[in-house]
């Protein structure tokens, strides 16, 4: 039991962050908070990838004399791409929030809903 919790601590952290992010996206009505939640959700996946690439006893994946065992560098590279995608998503999302604020005067979901239906 202890082994399940301590030995997989990186997974527990990823799952915790994932749920925090996911819950924020679902439960918050504020559009900026939703994007923050989305970011936490994405970062948890990045951490999952990076922690998975560690090889026990492996060195950082930079060729050094006298080192035979390296961690897997591929997930790092993949996540660099995913981070770029995440930044682009955040930027686009925030740009949309700015435009929504300009045309509705609010960034609260229920108020936006109200204003669409009161017309």
């Amino acid at each position: 039991m202890m082994e399940l919790i301590v030995g997989h601590y990186n997974y527990w952290i990823a799952i915790f962050l994932m749920m925090v992010g996911f819950y924020t996206v679902i439960s918050r009505g504020n559009l900026v908070k939703k994007i923050i939640g989305l970011n936490i959700f994405q970062v948890s996946v990045f951490l999952l990838y990076i922690s998975m690439s560690t090889v026990t006893g492996g060195a950082a994946p930079i060729i050094t004399e006298g080192v035979a065992l390296y961690s897997n560098p591929l997930p790092h590279v993949l996540i660099l791409t995913a981070i770029v995608v995440g930044v682009a998503t955040t930027a686009l999302g925030l740009a949309l929030v700015v435009r929504i604020k300009e045309s509705y005067g609010t960034i609260e979901e229920d108020e936006i809903h109200e204003r669409d239906h009161s017309l």
Partner: protein, 492 residues
């Protein structure tokens, strides 16, 4: 030279053209470049399909790095077929885009509009071309991000909120897909899909693989707008600029269908879908989608939204074919991917022509327009017949194969529900036709003229295609059959 790099050119040409179009001066030049790019891509996609059908699978090593280390573009009959559907629809949409976009997009945003369109096109084509599962994620995000931007360009302010809603749900979907890919990578150590096919059977019993599979399934189902994950779709299609609705309705969900089929039947071994509850899940959700989305469609007052709900129902048919997990079921799904692109393309274009003339498409706005716009009205009638599945139209062919697949499995309930879905299509398309033709024209509508030639011509290309592929099934059924053989699904 072109032949050898065909697969890469299909992605590189629109990708390279996108920033060029963005810096072009306002006016019609950006449109002209986009038109040339999409037409060239359609021709290349046709050449690619021809090459694949005659010479077999194309494997293109990006940058000369041998797979599985480098990224491989691997083209067989399945993705060559889907790539042709996308490039073909884009090339037909472009002539339509000129007038429609001038009317709906502010002038200073036109170059950026076409630039984002080309990026979206790149992403969709890229998904079909690549043989690397992480690359799929990257292209998925390229196409999604540009389509969020394109949807937000709609004239009403609801376009912004629907783009935002789509952004949240789309990103959740893509991230789910990313988790799944990571979990599978952790057990197999490869991202190349052909390589995964070879390695997954060894580790198939592991829980990690099953979890990864579930994550990927949910992620793509969101992109696919599979009922009940379709909530983003009706708003996005209703408020997006018409051209974008036409293009996305005909292509975006189709690409998601392709990647779903690729992962279910090609990456995972044959029989996995039926051994796990996946197949049943698709059948149940497909059937529920057909009924519920069709019922929703019957009481919509906005014609675009009505067609959007109908799209969710049509995705139900496609999901049903996937759920049967048999050769005939998949053939039906692939045929319906093609035919649905034709009918929804034609219908959204015809509705777009009405919007072009009167600026709206609510039931009470369009009364009596059928007599003022006879060609547009005729296009809607043929499109509706195809959607219903009347013999002689493309829609009949897909329904026919789907019913055959259902009969093969002795799924009587499915047969009944497919037919009820068709009846509901009669009801909701009947409402549109009633408003257009049988209601007396309002005073304002009496002076409305027929849509310009540049809007009618592309609409009628798709309408004629609907009839042609309803009569001549050699091409669609032949290629879909070959595609299913490639996937190696055992005939049932």
């Amino acid at each position: 030279m072109i032949q050898a790099h065909l697969s890469l050119l299909l992605v590189v040409i629109p990708l390279a053209a996108a920033p060029v179009v963005a810096i072009l001066p306002r006016g019609r030049l950006p449109w002209a470049v986009a038109l040339i790019v999409t037409s060239v891509c359609a021709v290349l996609a046709g050449m690619q399909l021809w090459a694949v059908v005659h010479d077999g699978v194309i494997s293109y090593e990006l940058g000369g790095w041998a797979p599985p280390w480098g990224i491989e573009y691997r083209i067989d009959a399945v993705n060559a077929f889907i790539a042709l559907v996308i490039a073909g629809i884009a090339a037909i949409t472009m002539p339509y885009a000129l007038l429609s976009a001038e009317k709906e997009i502010p002038e200073h945003q036109i170059p950026l509009f076409y630039s984002a369109f080309l990026l979206c096109f790149t992403g969709l084509l890229g998904i079909t071309q690549t043989g690397d599962i992480f690359n799929v994620f990257v292209f998925l995000e390229i196409s999604s991000l540009s389509s969020y931007a394109l949807i937000s360009l709609g004239r009403k302010r609801q376009a912004l909120t629907s783009a935002y809603q789509y952004l949240i749900m789309g990103t959740l979907g893509a991230t789910f897909f990313l988790i799944g890919v990571g979990l599978i990578y952790s057990q197999t150590g490869t991202l190349n899909m052909a390589d995964l096919t070879a390695r997954i059977p060894e580790v198939l019993a592991l829980k990690t693989i099953h979890t990864g599979f579930a994550f990927i399934l949910i992620g793509i189902a969101l992109k696919l707008a599979l009922f009940p994950l379709h909530l983003w779709l009706p708003n996005a299609y209703t408020y997006a600029p018409t051209v974008i609705t036409v293009f996305l309705a005909a292509t975006a969900t189709k690409v998601a269908v392709y990647i779903m089929i690729r992962i279910l039947f090609s990456v995972f071994p044959d029989g996995f879908v039926t051994a796990t509850p996946t197949g049943d899940l698709f059948i149940i959700l497909g059937l529920a989608g057909i009924i519920i989305a069709s019922v929703y469609a019957t009481y919509q007052v906005d014609v675009k939204r009505l067609l959007a709900y109908s799209s969710v129902a049509q995705i139900g048919y496609i999901a049903l074919g996937i759920g049967f997990a048999s050769a005939s079921g998949l053939t039906a799904s692939l045929i319906h991917v093609f035919n649905h692109a034709l009918m929804k393309g034609a219908l959204f274009m015809a509705v777009g022509s009405i919007i072009y003339r009167i600026g709206a498409c609510r039931m009470d706005n369009i009364q009596g327009l059928g007599r003022q716009m006879p060609w547009t009205f005729a296009a809607i009638v043929v499109g509706s017949l195809s959607l219903i599945g009347v013999p002689g139209t493309a829609g009949f062919i897909s329904k026919w194969y789907l019913v055959l697949a259902a009969l093969n499995q002795q799924a009587w309930i499915a047969v009944v529900i497919i037919l009820i879905g068709s009846l509901l299509a009669v009801v909701y398309m009947g409402k549109v036709i009633e408003a257009l033709y049988f209601k007396p024209a309002t005073e304002k509508n009496l002076s409305v003229k027929e849509a310009p030639m540049l809007l009618l011509a592309p609409t009628w290309v798709l309408v004629v295609a609907n009839i042609y592929f309803g009569l001549n099934t050699e091409l669609t059924v032949g290629i879909a059959g070959q595609a299913v053989q490639v996937l190696g699904v055992v005939a049932k």
